[in-house]
């Protein structure tokens, strides 16, 4: 589905909801609720991590406030609308109010559920409620896992079927839809490359993601298991020039009369595209162990099938939690890594070796372009979105009431080759470094 289809789908679901409201106004039951997280995080580094965290501290990584209305038109037909205020996804400077959910639901029988409109894919264990910090004990859901997909929201349709055999409850969700969102690419160097739409600092590229897939969830007593497969087609809006299609190796090479291939240029993809096809597979479990221990683990793999890019990643985490009265301390280990050849390409483009390895036919003709070449290589490296990081975290949640939680966490993230979660300083690199982050938050629902 494209943007036009998205708009049509949203308009259709809006019209359906409006019609239902007008037809059954006298019988409508509405349940209002709200949620919020007031969070603070501070690191020991001067550069930004996860957009906002640095040594000055920020409330912007985790803070979020939302309202939800569950509307019941009949026993079988309802609608859910959820709006939230959170840091903008299209700029680093402001906050934005967005409609996270707006769907109509039809439950023709106890074990069937059909939903149309804007909703969320059950890609991760906590996908659906990831904005509601009160529903889980982690101070921050591991970025290494919860970034595998650019968005878990979509506008489309889903069908759920539930079975209740003696071994528990199985729910199969099948969905298809599209969403328009932004990809954030941080250009660290203060340069403007001719012909490039990339600007120094944070760039927000509009993308359209078509996704289809399924999630199978097995609930056995209090334990939960989930597996999902999703196919995605991610297209960069033609009105927002794609980093894939501009400032290519061919463009750079055109400036190099007589230049022959070097390690960096030869590693560049030969054909560039503004559309990325990918398959995302996730597995997750939450298991209750003796002595009130819980083991939570998730694994995610996003495979790009038609391009070489850093977002071709493997990620996951494993966490051990223990419930002690109102306290739930935990320790977790998380990791995300781009595929090896993407990391190699990143290193080749990011280092000056790309230039020095070039064999120029007529050196004097290209020496004037050396700085431009190096800068453009680094811009390309930034645009590759490479990931190589691991995090160990120690934290706890404290349940104030059944609807309020306090959380605290210390986390050490080790950046290997590079990580696009880091806004590296101009002219520099952030590799083989540790980032310590201290987080506190107050989470509530009402």
């Amino acid at each position: 589905m494209n943007n036009q289809t998205t708009k049509t789908c949203l308009a259709l679901s809006g019209a359906i909801m409006a019609s239902l409201i007008s037809i059954t106004a006298s019988a409508v039951e509405t349940s209002l609720s709200g949620f919020g997280t007031l969070g603070y995080a501070q690191s020991n580094q001067s550069y930004n991590y996860e957009r906002f965290i640095n040594s000055n501290g920020t409330v912007k990584r985790d803070s979020i406030f939302g309202l939800q209305a569950d509307i019941k038109f009949t026993d079988e037909i309802g609608a859910t609308v959820q709006g939230k205020i959170a840091p903008s996804l299209s700029s680093d400077s402001g906050w934005a109010s967005t409609l996270s959910w707006a769907f109509a639901s039809w439950r023709p029988a106890n074990d069937w559920l059909v939903r149309v409109g804007k909703q969320r894919v059950g890609l991760y264990l906590y996908s659906e409620s990831q904005d509601v910090g009160e529903t889980y004990d982690f101070a921050h859901l591991p970025t290494e896992m919860y970034s595998i997909s650019p968005s878990t929201d979509y506008v489309g349709a889903s069908v759920s079927k539930t079975w209740n055999p003696s071994i528990g409850e199985f729910t199969l969700d099948i969905y298809s839809g599209t969403i328009s969102t932004n990809w954030r690419i941080y250009q660290r160097d203060n340069v403007q490359i001719p012909g490039s739409s990339m600007q120094p600092g944070a760039n927000f590229k509009n993308i359209s993601v078509n996704s289809s897939g399924f999630a199978l969830t097995w609930l056995r007593d209090e334990d939960k298991y989930r597996a999902s497969v999703q196919t995605q087609t991610t297209a960069i809006d033609p009105s927002s020039p794609a980093y894939y299609s501009q400032l290519t190796g061919a463009q750079i090479n055109s400036q190099l009369t007589g230049a022959t291939s070097g390690s960096a240029y030869s590693a560049l993809p030969q054909s560039l595209t503004t559309t990325v096809n990918s398959v995302v597979v996730t597995l997750g479990t939450e298991i209750h162990l003796p002595q009130d221990f819980r083991l939570i683990g998730e694994y995610g793999r996003r495979q790009i099938t038609n391009a070489l890019n850093g977002i071709d990643t493997t990620g996951g985490y494993l966490a051990l939690l223990k419930d002690v009265d109102a306290w739930t301390p935990y320790v977790s280990y998380a990791q995300i890594q781009s595929r090896a050849d993407a990391l190699s390409l990143y290193q080749a483009m990011n280092s000056d070796a790309g230039l020095t390895d070039l064999t120029f036919g007529t050196v004097p003709q290209v020496t004037g372009a050396v700085n431009t070449i190096n800068a453009s290589q680094r811009v390309l490296a930034d645009g590759l979105l490479a990931y190589d990081q691991k995090t160990i975290a120690l934290g706890t949640s404290y349940r104030l009431t059944p609807t309020q939680k306090l959380k605290a966490e210390w986390a050490r993230t080790h950046i290997g080759v590079a990580s696009s979660f880091v806004d590296a300083p101009a002219g520099g690199n952030v590799s083989n470094q540790n980032i310590d982050v201290l987080s506190f938050s107050y989470n509530f629902v009402f």
């Binding site: 939800q68 559920l113 904005d131 509601v132 529903t135 539930t162």
Partner: protein, 171 residues
């Protein structure tokens, strides 16, 4: 057969031992059929919305009341904290809102009696003649059907088996 008799005897003993505990009863509108505790549990956790073709609308009483706490413990095997946490997650995964909460048993009775498909729970002491009692908590002083079925159910005996038939006749 000897084993059968032992099971039935044990069930009957347990039933009579708890017969006067003062328990919670689940009442329904006149169009709502009798149910077992598993179905009640599924209704109050949002997993069942219709029974025998009848759309069910559950209501409860506000948190902190004895009736609610006893109901949660007896039918859902949960406390207030777990029940609230369950519905918080369920609401925010987009699968509906918890049953409406009324302020007293009297309100529950009025709502249930005037709303087709409605079910609610009240203290047994508030029962009045003519009310449609559709289920009782496991230890309640009901006719014995539900309690014994629950007990036998825990032994994983199939409904309508020899045990069930004998247990009914034994009460």
């Amino acid at each position: 057969m000897k084993t059968t008799f032992k099971v039935v005897s044990l069930a009957a003993s347990l039933l009579f031992a708890q017969a006067h505990a003062g328990e919670i009863v689940v009442i329904g509108n006149s169009n709502v059929p009798k149910m077992d505790s598993v179905t009640i549990q599924k209704i109050y956790t949002g997993k069942v919305i219709s029974v025998s073709g009848i759309s069910i609308t559950p209501v409860g009483v506000k948190s902190g009341t004895t009736a609610r706490n006893t109901f949660l413990q007896g039918f859902l095997n949960q406390d207030e904290e777990k029940y609230t946490a369950y519905w918080t997650v369920r609401r925010y995964i987009g699968k509906g809102a918890p049953p409406a909460e009324l302020s007293s048993d009297a309100e529950v009775i009025n709502y249930v009696q005037s709303t087709p498909g409605a079910v609610g729970y009240i203290d047994e002491a508030d029962l009045k003649p003519g009310m449609n009692v559709i289920a009782r908590s496991k230890g309640g002083s009901q006719s014995g059907l539900g309690g014994v079925q629950d007990f036998i159910g825990n032994l994983q005996v199939k409904p309508n088996s020899e045990y069930s038939v004998l247990s009914i006749s034994a009460i």
